[in-house]
């Protein structure tokens, strides 16, 4: 294996392609973030072409930093990402433990459970916001109506009528409003990504030390203690990996936000950038650099963890 030329040659196309992908657009973003650059300006037509003469220094960063909508977008991004992480990990652990046993139809249960993960995000969002969460025509509206009708009917019932007449009329929730659409997004993404967490935790549970477990049972450890002191520590690493991979994916959530909350105030960082791109390229680029910094903070931890297992 003295000849190193061939291996290098084989790696070159991939390295060059990714180098291009990483460096060229990002350096342009970096450049645009330091100049005044807008797509339409009647007053200052010279700003509509990218040029070093329109140098603005950190002006775009300052501009973005002082925008309330930027902070709202960050806040929203974090709310969405953190809620999804919490929900998918806790549901994922519970479900993985639940199906980590032999029972009739386990294969089918697995197939049913994993399916949401393969639904394309656009379909996921359209399906949830219209057919499930719509306050009138969706299942939510139908269910709320049904409950109201049921209560109405019971008000006149003999003994229980008094109890039911105390109940209020329920109002369906509109998930297209600014205040609620983040929750719709959280719901649909949780539905899609819980299967991913389940799958990973299940894979990991199968390598759990059974002898240790049997010893624990012989020592009289209850189900809770087994879970708390054996299973959970065993899952620590997969949990960390699920958290970080999802953080990276969900920080750049786009299709769901676009579909659920177009036209309202519930924006996350990528959506906010997408809006700025319609005109203010300088500000969009500065926001983009902020997004890169945010993603890098997460990525550094992830790379460290994966680096440890590499080459084992």
């Amino acid at each position: 294996m003295a000849n190193r030329t061939i291996p290098r040659l084989l790696q070159t196309p991939a390295v060059l392609l990714l180098l291009f992908w990483m460096l060229v657009p990002l350096s342009m973003t970096l450049f645009f973030s330091f100049i005044r650059y807008v797509l339409n300006s009647l007053r200052r037509p010279e700003w509509t072409t990218p040029s070093i003469e329109n140098w603005r220094g950190f002006g775009n960063y300052q501009f973005v930093w002082n925008q309330d909508s930027f902070w709202l977008a960050i806040q929203n991004s974090l709310l969405i990402v953190c809620s999804i992480l919490f929900l998918t990990v806790s549901l994922g652990v519970l479900i993985a433990v639940l199906i980590n046993r032999t029972f009739p139809g386990r294969g089918i249960v697995r197939v049913l459970l994993i399916s949401p993960f393969f639904v394309m995000p656009a379909v996921n969002a359209v399906l949830w916001i219209n057919m499930i969460l719509d306050p009138v025509l969706g299942l939510q509206g139908i269910a709320v109506n049904g409950i109201n009708d049921f209560i109405d009917g019971m008000r006149t019932a003999p003994v229980l009528g008094g109890f039911f007449s105390l109940w209020p009329e329920f109002e369906p929730i509109s998930f297209r409003a600014t205040q609620t659409s983040a929750y719709a997004v959280i719901m649909m993404v949780t539905w899609q990504w819980t299967p991913f967490a389940v799958l990973i935790f299940m894979t990991s549970l199968q390598s759990e030390d059974q002898q240790q477990k049997e010893a624990a049972i012989l020592d009289g450890a209850g189900a809770w203690n087994q879970f708390r002191f054996l299973t959970l520590p065993h899952l620590a690493r997969p949990i960390a990996i699920v958290v970080m991979i999802q953080a990276i994916f969900h920080l750049s959530l786009y299709a769901e936000i676009e579909i659920v909350s177009r036209g309202n105030g519930n924006k996350n960082l990528p959506y906010y950038i997408g809006e700025l791109v319609n005109n203010n390229i300088g500000a969009a680029s500065a926001t983009g650099i902020f997004a890169v910094i945010l993603a890098n903070i997460v990525a550094i931890f992830l790379l460290r963890m994966i680096g440890k297992t590499l080459m084992e």
Partner: protein, 277 residues
């Protein structure tokens, strides 16, 4: 595999039942979508026809008239297939070299490749629009194929690397003794031995390409618009078209969900970059 817990009669019945209930809840939205796709648009919004209705195939028959479905589907197929092929053509030699002739830098290169995956797409949105419009590539199949390949290349290289790493080096060395050149090694030894790994990498990359919804939406208008773009464009049917929308959605996700069933295991390896086994 199975928990060796104290199997009481209760736990033998209750836990499996609960597992089934959870699985059915998770599958319900998909089932509801498929069900609705067989209703007329008028029936689809009537609560009395929630589960009992006269099934019709008209939504599927009218997919072309209603949404021009097949044009978008064709674009999805073209871009996903070619992106998958191109990704593999670039990734296989690279992972092969990394797995069998690792140098001191290999680990760093792998980590760096992974880090490109973490670049938020939105940050480079405008430069991509700017460059592709300047080069006349905006809204072309070629562009979408390239972008899909680039975003999936790190995952493909990682997956293939973890598969190739498990092939014993002796076999390759034996091949070299027999006078095989590099291409011969790949053809005669690597591809036959790692066939399963290559196939599942291809499957997973294909699924990711098919479901991609950022670049395919932002870098296309009509010519190269994929199914993601089609669905995204019909985000608010106001209840009028639940039936037909369900049909087109079912047609868009059906094949991929079925493909996905076959590569659950690979998914774990591919998405965790081999860190969970």
């Amino acid at each position: 595999m199975a928990i060796v817990a104290q199997h009481t009669k209760f736990s033998k019945i209750a836990w499996p039942v609960l597992a089934w209930v959870v699985a059915l809840i998770f599958f319900f939205p998909i089932a509801y979508m498929v069900l609705t796709s067989f209703k007329t648009d008028a029936d689809a919004v009537k609560p009395e026809f929630l589960f009992s209705f006269t099934p019709t195939l008209e939504n599927y028959a009218n997919m072309t008239d209603n949404y021009d479905y097949w044009r978008f589907a064709r674009n999805s197929v073209i871009t996903s297939v070619f992106a998958t092929i191109f990704t593999l053509v670039v990734a296989i030699p690279c992972s092969y070299a990394m797995a069998f002739n690792p140098s001191r830098g290999t680990k760093d290169i792998l980590m760096w490749m992974l880090s490109t995956k973490m670049l938020p797409a939105a940050a480079v949105l405008y430069p991509m629009i700017f460059m592709t419009k300047a080069a006349g590539l905006y809204d072309t199949h070629f562009l979408i194929v390239m972008v899909l390949s680039l975003i999936n290349l790190p995952i493909a290289i990682w997956m293939l690397f973890t598969y190739f790493k498990d092939i014993p080096k002796d076999i390759i060395e034996a091949g070299q003794m027999d006078g095989l050149n590099t291409w011969g090694e790949v053809r005669e030894i690597l591809i036959p031995l790692a066939w399963g790994g290559i196939a599942s990498t291809a499957l997973l990359v294909f699924i990711f390409c098919w479901n991609e919804a950022y670049w395919t939406v932002r870098l296309t208008t009509t010519e190269a618009a994929t199914l993601s773009k089609l669905i995204e464009g019909n985000r608010a049917p106001e209840g009028l078209f639940f039936g037909r929308l369900s049909a087109v959605s079912t047609a868009a996700v059906g094949p991929i969900v079925v493909l996905g069933w076959f590569c659950q295991k690979q998914l774990v390896q591919g998405l965790t970059f081999g860190a969970v086994k």
